[in-house]
Amino acid sequence: MSQDGHHPAAMSPVEQRVAALEALLTERGLVPEGFIEEVTRRYELEIGPMNGAKVVARAWADPQYKQRLLAEGTAAIAELGFGGPEGDHMVVVENTAAVHNVIVCTLCSCYPWPVLGLPPAWYKDPPYRARMVREPRTLLAEMGCHLPEDAEIRVWDSSAEVRYLVLPQRPPETEGMTEPELAGLVTRDSMIGVARL
């Protein structure tokens, strides 16, 4: 990050526009002191895919939790202390050998912040949003997720208030692993549904 914010020549046009709006809103007393730093800290440290990984690991380790997670996603995720904006109405969809689930938001970039953090750039950019609903098998393969010919693909377009989390299949030969060890296996992409573990 640049600390050199007072030399306009060093700033890109978009940085200059952000600085302009920030200065005008600050002069009007609308930006609480430290607010931008607080937003940065919250999204960099507190929320992210490490939260979703804990949910997945718990579901793998505890069949009763998994049942609750698939039936009442929001409440089951709250048991682990996760919730809040863009996580108030959670639905968890389970990947199996025969069924593969993947999430997208074609209209904007809806994403389950409390469990996955902020969406990656590619999730928000036009190619992913345009293509996942039309050619999911092709796009998944391009992204390295090769599915059996006969696997069913269910795409979930987050167009209303529900946010989705994919419960990936537990990898083989992980019996005996602890929950934190299991959580270490879970990737962001596997919980979006663009990768299998």
Partner: protein
């Protein structure tokens, strides 16, 4: 007239490969976090609903939308709402920025004065066949273009939620049930892929019985 905005990308062709990265930071630079925070500041100060916020991005000039990043969308939304609600003026923004400050285009639909009564009871149940209304509203909607006129099956009934098409255009509110509707790929696309389906979450008034 801006109808069927550029943001409604589902099914569009020609965008090429997804530039995928397995991990990335929450913010690539301070200005991204600042844009995010400033949008929260403006939305709070002017009482913008989620629908009004989304629509302020959807009204971006299409070329600008497609060639700018997510947080430039947020910046444009924050500045547009700030100007429209009288917090700042465009000339102040441009003077401070030392150059052009593109804002989103105007709202093209009148303010909704009467939202009509809430709909409490779902009209449809799991397994019902429904068809999405074929219409092209000039304002905000959460009904993607690629499902309009298409038939699908209700797979889940969710709670009642404020209709975005109404809340984006004034202070009136109407709540309706939402449904997750499953569409077979073959119903949506001439080249629909075998074994694929797309689930779209839709408000009650977007649907009719099929």
């Amino acid at each position: 007239m801006l109808v069927d905005g550029i943001h409604d990308l589902g099914g569009m062709q020609g965008f090429g490969a997804v530039v995928h990265s397995p991990t990335e930071p929450a913010f690539h630079d301070r200005w991204e976090a600042a844009a995010r925070a400033l949008l929260a500041v403006v939305a709070g100060a002017v009482g913008a609903s989620g629908g009004e916020f989304r629509h302020s991005i959807e009204r971006m000039e299409p070329g600008h939308y497609l060639t700018s990043s997510y947080y430039e969308h947020w910046l444009t939304a924050a500045a547009t709402l700030a100007v429209e609600h009288g917090l700042v003026t465009r000339s102040e923004l441009e003077a401070r920025a030392g150059g052009r400050f593109p804002l989103s285009g105007p709202v093209l639909t009148p303010t909704v004065a009467d939202a009509g009564p809430d709909v409490g009871e779902p009209r449809f149940g799991v397994g019902d066949r429904v068809r999405v209304r074929e219409w092209h509203p000039p304002g905000h909607t959460r009904c993607p273009r690629y499902v309009r006129g298409k038939a699908g099956t209700v797979v889940r009934v969710d709670g009642t939620h404020s209709v975005p098409d109404i809340e984006a255009h004034g202070t009136a509110r109407r709540c309706e049930p939402t449904y997750s509707v499953r569409f077979d790929a073959a119903e949506l696309w001439r080249d629909g892929q075998r074994g694929a389906s797309v689930h779209v979450d839709l408000w009650d008034s977007y649907l009719e019985r099929s």
